[in-house]
Symmetry: C2
Subunit: 152 residues, 2 copies
């Protein structure tokens, strides 16, 4: 566990990241990890990488990408102009799940948000992800909100 | 109702916007609308205004600011690289509530997200805002997620 490091994702990590997004009960129906990757993934990576308020991260162990998440640093007027760090698209590689990697990743993300001056970290998870609710509760998050989505 | 227009917020709108954020059961304990405004609000406005992926909006009727919301346009890999529009800090001036202004604002925001190429619009509301849950359900949103927050 102590050899896990975190770094900004590079374009060469994209196949590994998309494979993790797809290897998930909900992601399986929404993603397409076949190679070459769909252009949408490449365009999205470039947009994230060019935006100083977006940070796509990979967790690496011995050169192998074993996890990913994205942080959006959001300026807002609420709470006296507090910056928020929003965590999205958290995934751990299948063979490394339930081994504490997710906890390390979220703790790293919280530290990154603090370092950027955020006074709040927020995220949403699908109501069906019971394990995730327990996980975030254990990490000190409060499930105080309902998350609404509308597809266009 | 037909005279309501929407535009990007200007620095001169800031006192009106903060007053609306504070005039709210939850905002009352978190905001400070006293003048001159706390520097945090001004810094946050400048950060929002400088970020091409943030849009702070006011609804105006006859020159009077009667509503506000913020849209964050978020690039992400999930859903084959879909852009998301995230709506935050939705408020309608006290004397104009329950008159359809909120619906116009959200419909305007959804159109703005569509125009920016988003394929998903998302938002969270505090679990305690029962009226808001009915409101967003009526506008075609699905409350599929739980929203977690952690203060730093």
């Amino acid at each position: 566990m102590t050899d896990i490091t975190f770094r900004r994702a590079q374009a060469s990590d994209l196949p590994d990241i998309v494979a993790m997004l797809a290897d998930d009960p909900l992601g399986a129906g929404r993603e397409d990890a076949s190679l070459p990757l769909a252009q949408g993934y490449i365009d999205a990576f470039n947009a994230i990488d060019a935006d100083p308020n977006q940070l796509l991260v990979v967790a690496v162990d011995g050169g192998e990408v074993i996890g990913t998440l994205q942080i959006s640093f959001l300026a807002g007027l609420s709470r006296k102009g507090a910056w928020r760090g929003q965590i999205e698209a958290v995934r751990v590689a299948g063979h490394r799940r339930s081994g504490g990697v997710g906890r390390l990743m979220i703790e790293w993300a919280i530290d990154a948000c603090r370092a950027r001056g955020c006074s709040l970290v927020q995220l949403t998870t699908d109501k069906g992800r019971a394990d995730a609710h327990r996980f975030y509760g254990n990490l000190g998050f409060t499930g105080s909100h309902l998350g609404y989505k509308k597809t266009l």
